[in-house]
Symmetry: C2
Subunit: 179 residues, 2 copies
Amino acid sequence: MENLIELFGISDDLVPQKFKKGHILQSQGDVNSNAYLVKNGLLRSYTIDQKGKEHVFMFAPEDWIISDIESQEFHHPAELYIECLEDSELIILNRKHLASVELNSQQYQQRLNKLSRRIAVLQRRMIGMMSSTAQERYEEFLVYYPNLVGRISQRMIASYLGITPEALSKIRGQIAKNS
Amino acid sequence: MENLIELFGISDDLVPQKFKKGHILQSQGDVNSNAYLVKNGLLRSYTIDQKGKEHVFMFAPEDWIISDIESQEFHHPAELYIECLEDSELIILNRKHLASVELNSQQYQQRLNKLSRRIAVLQRRMIGMMSSTAQERYEEFLVYYPNLVGRISQRMIASYLGITPEALSKIRGQIAKNS
DNA sequence: GGAAATTATTAATCCAGATTAAGAAATTAA
DNA sequence: TTAATTTCTTAATCTGGATTAATAATTTCC
């Protein structure tokens, strides 16, 4: 985790911890939410809406950081559940680590860069959601995350795309037929 | 613009410039995109998709900053148009201002905070897009941006919500009837 | 002020994707 | 290994919001 030090200016007491597949790291409503850096394995964040339906917000494979930013930065109750989709080794970054450390300019620039990238991804996803059909969004997902596809159930990919598993299944059938 | 200095560590050569309603500050495909701080007036950013349809990405009233982050930070061609919806006075922040200035720790923290807030907003909007009906999203918009509602055409609110003006008109009729 | 252009509304029809249902395949657990 | 659970697929039906169209209300601009 060499560049973790660069990024967060911390090194001690950041031993990766192991969690089993299915483990829920944090739940909707939690007030002390963390960020999780995935050393290996795979996480997802998701909400459950008023109607009881689950919506995947993002996936985090190796070297990604996942958190509920609103909760973490602004101390709001978490909107998002965070769950292990595979047995995972994680470095848990709590508010103490992320907020109270003096960083140098380069470290700050790197953090700004990370956040900017996240915004860019969300911007692209938002626009796709408004302007593309479900099939177009699925095909884009395949291009952007080719190495994730085999590790994630169709059900969850559908949820990430904002459609039902049935709709995704139909799209996949369609694509298979036309090729 | 006192806190602009705090935020960006700059003060000179940042005289607000005036633009007329309807002026397009930057277009899809532009490579030298800026950020715009709205001193007064109102801007919007939007894309035009392959099918030629417009989608409003965000509005920026007084004291907001608007930009195509992906373009600005990562030098990609802009996805977003940025347009004046009212006569506006703007401070234009180019890459030079935003990137090359040495900031102190507090200034960096403030920038990180701004970006985090943007992510939080996008997260909430994304989740709303996936889990709420058009009517629910409209009602949430009314709550979150009560002071914008009167200044923006229905057409653009509809576009921001990801629906057609006809659909929004129907929803408004519905709401008016039930009250 | 008046013509032209844009915006908002209403209504009829259409369609992408939701819902419901049920069986098949794969995974998990005992 | 088998039973139980979860995931995936297929198909019929339904529905929220899109599309199309036409008219009314506003705004823009000469």
